[in-house]
Symmetry: C2
Protein backbone atom coordinates (compact mmCIF):
# COMPACT_ATOMS: atom_id res chain seq x y z
CA UNK A 1 0.00 0.00 0.00
CA UNK A 2 2.78 2.40 1.00
CA UNK A 3 4.56 1.79 -2.29
CA UNK A 4 1.52 3.10 -4.19
CA UNK A 5 1.84 6.35 -2.25
CA UNK A 6 5.55 6.50 -3.13
CA UNK A 7 4.60 5.87 -6.77
CA UNK A 8 1.89 8.52 -6.81
CA UNK A 9 4.12 11.11 -5.18
CA UNK A 10 6.96 10.49 -7.60
CA UNK A 11 4.66 10.67 -10.62
CA UNK A 12 2.97 13.79 -9.20
CA UNK A 13 6.35 15.52 -8.79
CA UNK A 14 7.21 14.61 -12.38
CA UNK A 15 3.96 16.21 -13.50
CA UNK A 16 4.90 19.37 -11.59
CA UNK A 17 8.19 19.40 -13.54
CA UNK A 18 6.24 18.75 -16.75
CA UNK A 19 4.03 21.77 -15.99
CA UNK A 20 7.04 24.08 -16.13
CA UNK A 21 7.05 23.90 -19.92
CA UNK A 22 3.55 25.42 -20.07
CA UNK A 23 2.32 28.95 -19.46
CA UNK A 24 0.03 29.53 -16.50
CA UNK A 25 -2.70 30.27 -19.02
CA UNK A 26 -2.44 26.72 -20.41
CA UNK A 27 -2.29 25.23 -16.91
CA UNK A 28 -5.52 26.83 -15.73
CA UNK A 29 -7.31 26.71 -19.09
CA UNK A 30 -10.64 24.90 -19.12
CA UNK A 31 -10.47 21.43 -20.74
CA UNK A 32 -13.03 18.72 -21.46
CA UNK A 33 -13.44 16.00 -18.84
CA UNK A 34 -12.00 15.29 -15.42
CA UNK A 35 -12.09 18.27 -13.08
CA UNK A 36 -11.53 20.68 -15.96
CA UNK A 37 -7.93 21.93 -15.99
CA UNK A 38 -4.39 20.66 -15.52
CA UNK A 39 -3.61 22.75 -12.46
CA UNK A 40 -6.95 22.08 -10.82
CA UNK A 41 -6.44 18.33 -11.34
CA UNK A 42 -3.19 18.45 -9.36
CA UNK A 43 -4.79 20.67 -6.70
CA UNK A 44 -7.78 18.32 -6.45
CA UNK A 45 -5.61 15.20 -6.05
CA UNK A 46 -3.74 16.85 -3.18
CA UNK A 47 -6.91 18.18 -1.55
CA UNK A 48 -8.67 14.80 -1.69
CA UNK A 49 -5.65 12.89 -0.35
CA UNK A 50 -5.17 15.30 2.54
CA UNK A 51 -8.87 15.43 3.42
CA UNK A 52 -9.16 11.66 3.66
CA UNK A 53 -5.93 11.29 5.63
CA UNK A 54 -7.21 13.88 8.10
CA UNK A 55 -10.58 12.11 8.12
CA UNK A 56 -8.93 8.83 9.05
CA UNK A 57 -7.29 10.57 11.97
CA UNK A 58 -10.59 12.08 13.14
CA UNK A 59 -9.25 15.58 12.44
CA UNK A 60 -11.51 18.38 11.25
CA UNK A 61 -11.63 18.92 7.47
CA UNK A 62 -9.61 21.88 6.25
CA UNK A 63 -11.13 23.74 3.31
CA UNK A 64 -8.45 24.87 0.88
CA UNK A 65 -9.37 27.49 -1.69
CA UNK A 66 -8.12 26.82 -5.17
CA UNK A 67 -8.12 30.58 -5.77
CA UNK A 68 -5.18 30.81 -3.34
CA UNK A 69 -3.18 28.24 -5.35
CA UNK A 70 -3.25 29.61 -8.87
CA UNK A 71 0.31 28.72 -9.95
CA UNK A 72 2.18 25.46 -10.21
CA UNK A 73 4.70 26.67 -7.61
CA UNK A 74 1.93 27.25 -5.08
CA UNK A 75 0.26 23.89 -5.78
CA UNK A 76 3.59 22.09 -5.52
CA UNK A 77 4.35 23.78 -2.26
CA UNK A 78 0.92 22.73 -0.95
CA UNK A 79 1.70 19.16 -2.00
CA UNK A 80 5.08 19.20 -0.25
CA UNK A 81 3.66 20.61 2.95
CA UNK A 82 0.78 18.16 3.20
CA UNK A 83 3.04 15.27 2.27
CA UNK A 84 5.17 15.82 5.35
CA UNK A 85 2.10 15.43 7.52
CA UNK A 86 0.84 12.43 5.54
CA UNK A 87 4.19 10.64 5.77
CA UNK A 88 4.19 11.04 9.53
CA UNK A 89 0.78 9.44 9.70
CA UNK A 90 1.44 6.59 7.25
CA UNK A 91 4.80 5.69 8.81
CA UNK A 92 3.32 5.11 12.24
CA UNK A 93 1.53 1.86 13.00
CA UNK A 94 -0.61 1.84 9.89
CA UNK A 95 -1.08 -1.91 10.16
CA UNK A 96 -2.97 -1.61 13.46
CA UNK A 97 -5.46 0.87 12.03
CA UNK A 98 -6.48 -0.75 8.76
CA UNK A 99 -9.76 -2.32 9.85
CA UNK A 100 -10.92 0.70 11.85
CA UNK A 101 -14.20 2.17 10.54
CA UNK A 102 -14.18 5.87 9.69
CA UNK A 103 -16.91 8.45 9.01
CA UNK A 104 -16.19 11.81 7.42
CA UNK A 105 -18.38 14.93 7.15
CA UNK A 106 -18.50 14.99 3.32
CA UNK A 107 -19.65 11.39 2.78
CA UNK A 108 -22.56 9.42 4.23
CA UNK A 109 -20.74 6.07 4.13
CA UNK A 110 -18.59 4.42 6.74
CA UNK A 111 -15.35 2.93 5.44
CA UNK A 112 -12.35 1.12 6.84
CA UNK A 113 -8.98 2.87 6.80
CA UNK A 114 -7.83 0.26 4.31
CA UNK A 115 -10.70 1.09 1.92
CA UNK A 116 -9.96 4.79 2.19
CA UNK A 117 -6.27 4.26 1.42
CA UNK A 118 -7.26 2.26 -1.68
CA UNK A 119 -9.63 5.05 -2.65
CA UNK A 120 -6.94 7.75 -2.35
CA UNK A 121 -4.49 5.69 -4.43
CA UNK A 122 -6.93 4.88 -7.25
CA UNK A 123 -8.22 8.47 -7.26
CA UNK A 124 -4.78 9.91 -8.04
CA UNK A 125 -3.84 7.34 -10.68
CA UNK A 126 -7.19 7.90 -12.42
CA UNK A 127 -6.75 11.68 -12.59
CA UNK A 128 -3.15 11.33 -13.75
CA UNK A 129 -4.42 9.19 -16.63
CA UNK A 130 -6.62 12.11 -17.59
CA UNK A 131 -3.64 14.49 -17.61
CA UNK A 132 -1.88 12.15 -20.02
CA UNK A 133 -4.63 12.65 -22.63
CA UNK A 134 -4.58 16.42 -22.28
CA UNK A 135 -0.80 16.26 -22.63
CA UNK A 136 -1.05 14.49 -26.00
CA UNK A 137 -3.73 16.95 -27.09
CA UNK A 138 -1.12 19.64 -26.39
CA UNK A 139 1.32 17.60 -28.50
CA UNK A 140 3.54 16.97 -25.49
CA UNK A 141 4.86 13.69 -24.11
CA UNK A 142 3.11 12.82 -20.86
CA UNK A 143 4.99 11.71 -17.76
CA UNK A 144 5.47 7.92 -18.03
CA UNK A 145 3.04 5.98 -15.84
CA UNK A 146 4.81 2.64 -15.37
CA UNK A 147 5.14 1.39 -11.82
CA UNK A 148 8.07 -0.95 -12.40
CA UNK A 149 11.49 0.20 -13.48
CA UNK A 150 11.51 3.32 -11.29
CA UNK A 151 13.83 4.19 -8.42
CA UNK A 152 11.60 5.21 -5.54
CA UNK A 153 12.29 7.58 -2.73
CA UNK A 154 11.24 5.59 0.31
CA UNK A 155 8.55 7.04 2.52
CA UNK A 156 11.01 6.71 5.40
CA UNK A 157 13.38 9.16 3.73
CA UNK A 158 10.84 12.00 3.54
CA UNK B 1 -3.80 -6.00 -3.39
CA UNK B 2 -6.58 -8.42 -4.36
CA UNK B 3 -9.20 -5.74 -3.76
CA UNK B 4 -7.59 -3.56 -6.44
CA UNK B 5 -8.07 -6.40 -8.91
CA UNK B 6 -11.71 -6.69 -7.84
CA UNK B 7 -12.05 -2.92 -8.32
CA UNK B 8 -10.41 -2.93 -11.74
CA UNK B 9 -12.51 -5.83 -12.96
CA UNK B 10 -15.74 -4.24 -11.81
CA UNK B 11 -14.88 -0.90 -13.40
CA UNK B 12 -13.74 -2.67 -16.58
CA UNK B 13 -17.07 -4.53 -16.82
CA UNK B 14 -18.91 -1.24 -16.36
CA UNK B 15 -16.89 0.22 -19.24
CA UNK B 16 -17.91 -2.76 -21.40
CA UNK B 17 -21.54 -1.94 -20.59
CA UNK B 18 -20.84 1.74 -21.31
CA UNK B 19 -19.45 0.76 -24.73
CA UNK B 20 -22.82 -0.67 -25.74
CA UNK B 21 -24.20 2.83 -26.32
CA UNK B 22 -21.58 3.48 -29.02
CA UNK B 23 -21.24 2.19 -32.56
CA UNK B 24 -18.30 -0.02 -33.37
CA UNK B 25 -17.02 2.82 -35.53
CA UNK B 26 -16.76 5.09 -32.48
CA UNK B 27 -15.17 2.33 -30.40
CA UNK B 28 -12.33 1.68 -32.82
CA UNK B 29 -11.95 5.28 -34.01
CA UNK B 30 -8.50 6.80 -33.60
CA UNK B 31 -8.28 9.29 -30.71
CA UNK B 32 -5.51 11.49 -29.33
CA UNK B 33 -3.42 10.05 -26.50
CA UNK B 34 -3.21 6.76 -24.67
CA UNK B 35 -3.10 3.75 -26.97
CA UNK B 36 -5.35 5.46 -29.51
CA UNK B 37 -8.91 4.10 -29.32
CA UNK B 38 -11.50 3.06 -26.77
CA UNK B 39 -11.65 -0.59 -27.79
CA UNK B 40 -7.90 -0.92 -28.10
CA UNK B 41 -7.49 0.54 -24.60
CA UNK B 42 -9.66 -2.21 -23.14
CA UNK B 43 -7.89 -4.85 -25.22
CA UNK B 44 -4.48 -3.51 -24.17
CA UNK B 45 -5.38 -3.54 -20.44
CA UNK B 46 -6.44 -7.19 -20.70
CA UNK B 47 -3.41 -8.18 -22.77
CA UNK B 48 -0.95 -6.53 -20.37
CA UNK B 49 -2.59 -8.01 -17.27
CA UNK B 50 -2.62 -11.50 -18.73
CA UNK B 51 0.95 -11.31 -20.05
CA UNK B 52 2.35 -10.28 -16.69
CA UNK B 53 0.33 -12.88 -14.78
CA UNK B 54 1.65 -15.55 -17.14
CA UNK B 55 5.14 -14.07 -16.78
CA UNK B 56 4.95 -14.38 -12.99
CA UNK B 57 4.10 -18.05 -13.42
CA UNK B 58 7.02 -18.62 -15.80
CA UNK B 59 4.59 -19.44 -18.61
CA UNK B 60 5.35 -18.57 -22.22
CA UNK B 61 3.90 -15.27 -23.47
CA UNK B 62 0.83 -15.64 -25.65
CA UNK B 63 0.55 -13.11 -28.47
CA UNK B 64 -3.04 -12.00 -28.96
CA UNK B 65 -3.90 -10.21 -32.17
CA UNK B 66 -6.10 -7.18 -31.77
CA UNK B 67 -7.39 -7.79 -35.31
CA UNK B 68 -9.15 -10.90 -33.97
CA UNK B 69 -10.95 -8.84 -31.28
CA UNK B 70 -12.58 -6.04 -33.23
CA UNK B 71 -15.87 -5.79 -31.29
CA UNK B 72 -16.70 -5.09 -27.68
CA UNK B 73 -18.32 -8.55 -27.36
CA UNK B 74 -15.09 -10.24 -28.42
CA UNK B 75 -12.92 -8.11 -26.13
CA UNK B 76 -15.26 -8.72 -23.20
CA UNK B 77 -15.20 -12.43 -23.84
CA UNK B 78 -11.39 -12.33 -23.90
CA UNK B 79 -11.46 -10.51 -20.57
CA UNK B 80 -13.82 -13.07 -19.01
CA UNK B 81 -11.77 -16.01 -20.21
CA UNK B 82 -8.45 -14.66 -19.00
CA UNK B 83 -9.97 -13.58 -15.72
CA UNK B 84 -10.87 -17.15 -14.84
CA UNK B 85 -7.24 -18.13 -15.19
CA UNK B 86 -6.01 -15.06 -13.32
CA UNK B 87 -8.39 -15.67 -10.42
CA UNK B 88 -7.10 -19.22 -10.05
CA UNK B 89 -3.56 -17.91 -9.83
CA UNK B 90 -4.27 -15.00 -7.47
CA UNK B 91 -6.40 -17.09 -5.11
CA UNK B 92 -3.67 -19.61 -4.47
CA UNK B 93 -0.89 -18.81 -2.03
CA UNK B 94 -0.14 -15.38 -3.41
CA UNK B 95 1.46 -14.33 -0.13
CA UNK B 96 4.24 -16.92 -0.47
CA UNK B 97 5.22 -15.67 -3.92
CA UNK B 98 5.36 -11.91 -3.43
CA UNK B 99 9.10 -11.48 -3.01
CA UNK B 100 10.03 -13.89 -5.80
CA UNK B 101 12.03 -12.22 -8.59
CA UNK B 102 10.66 -12.57 -12.11
CA UNK B 103 12.10 -11.99 -15.60
CA UNK B 104 9.93 -11.78 -18.70
CA UNK B 105 10.90 -11.86 -22.38
CA UNK B 106 9.58 -8.36 -23.22
CA UNK B 107 11.40 -6.45 -20.47
CA UNK B 108 15.07 -6.34 -19.47
CA UNK B 109 14.35 -5.74 -15.79
CA UNK B 110 13.89 -8.22 -12.99
CA UNK B 111 10.97 -7.49 -10.69
CA UNK B 112 9.32 -9.05 -7.67
CA UNK B 113 5.84 -10.50 -8.02
CA UNK B 114 4.62 -7.76 -5.70
CA UNK B 115 6.06 -5.04 -7.95
CA UNK B 116 4.45 -6.62 -11.00
CA UNK B 117 1.06 -6.80 -9.32
CA UNK B 118 1.35 -3.09 -8.45
CA UNK B 119 2.30 -2.40 -12.05
CA UNK B 120 -0.74 -4.24 -13.44
CA UNK B 121 -3.09 -2.42 -11.07
CA UNK B 122 -1.75 1.08 -11.77
CA UNK B 123 -1.62 0.35 -15.50
CA UNK B 124 -5.35 -0.35 -15.70
CA UNK B 125 -6.44 2.58 -13.51
CA UNK B 126 -4.28 4.92 -15.60
CA UNK B 127 -5.80 3.81 -18.90
CA UNK B 128 -9.33 3.95 -17.48
CA UNK B 129 -8.66 7.58 -16.55
CA UNK B 130 -7.88 8.19 -20.22
CA UNK B 131 -11.21 6.63 -21.27
CA UNK B 132 -12.99 9.04 -18.95
CA UNK B 133 -11.66 12.04 -20.92
CA UNK B 134 -12.66 10.55 -24.26
CA UNK B 135 -16.08 9.85 -22.78
CA UNK B 136 -16.60 13.53 -21.91
CA UNK B 137 -15.32 14.52 -25.35
CA UNK B 138 -18.14 12.32 -26.70
CA UNK B 139 -20.50 14.18 -24.34
CA UNK B 140 -21.17 11.00 -22.39
CA UNK B 141 -20.91 10.38 -18.64
CA UNK B 142 -17.89 8.19 -17.89
CA UNK B 143 -18.11 5.18 -15.57
CA UNK B 144 -17.57 6.45 -12.01
CA UNK B 145 -14.05 5.74 -10.73
CA UNK B 146 -14.52 5.84 -6.94
CA UNK B 147 -13.14 2.88 -5.01
CA UNK B 148 -15.29 3.30 -1.90
CA UNK B 149 -19.05 2.95 -1.89
CA UNK B 150 -19.12 0.00 -4.31
CA UNK B 151 -20.36 -3.52 -3.69
CA UNK B 152 -17.61 -5.82 -4.89
CA UNK B 153 -17.85 -9.30 -6.26
CA UNK B 154 -15.23 -11.17 -4.25
CA UNK B 155 -12.44 -12.85 -6.15
CA UNK B 156 -13.45 -16.06 -4.40
CA UNK B 157 -16.85 -15.97 -6.07
CA UNK B 158 -15.48 -15.93 -9.61
Amino acid sequence: MISFFEYNWQVRDEWFDWCNQLSNHELVKSRTGGVGSILYTLFHIIDVEYSWIRGIQGKEDVVINYADYNTVEKVRSLSDGFRNEIVEFLKNNLEDKKVKAVSVPWDEGKYTVEEILHHIIAHEIHHIGQLSIWSRELELNPVPAHFIGREYKSMHSF
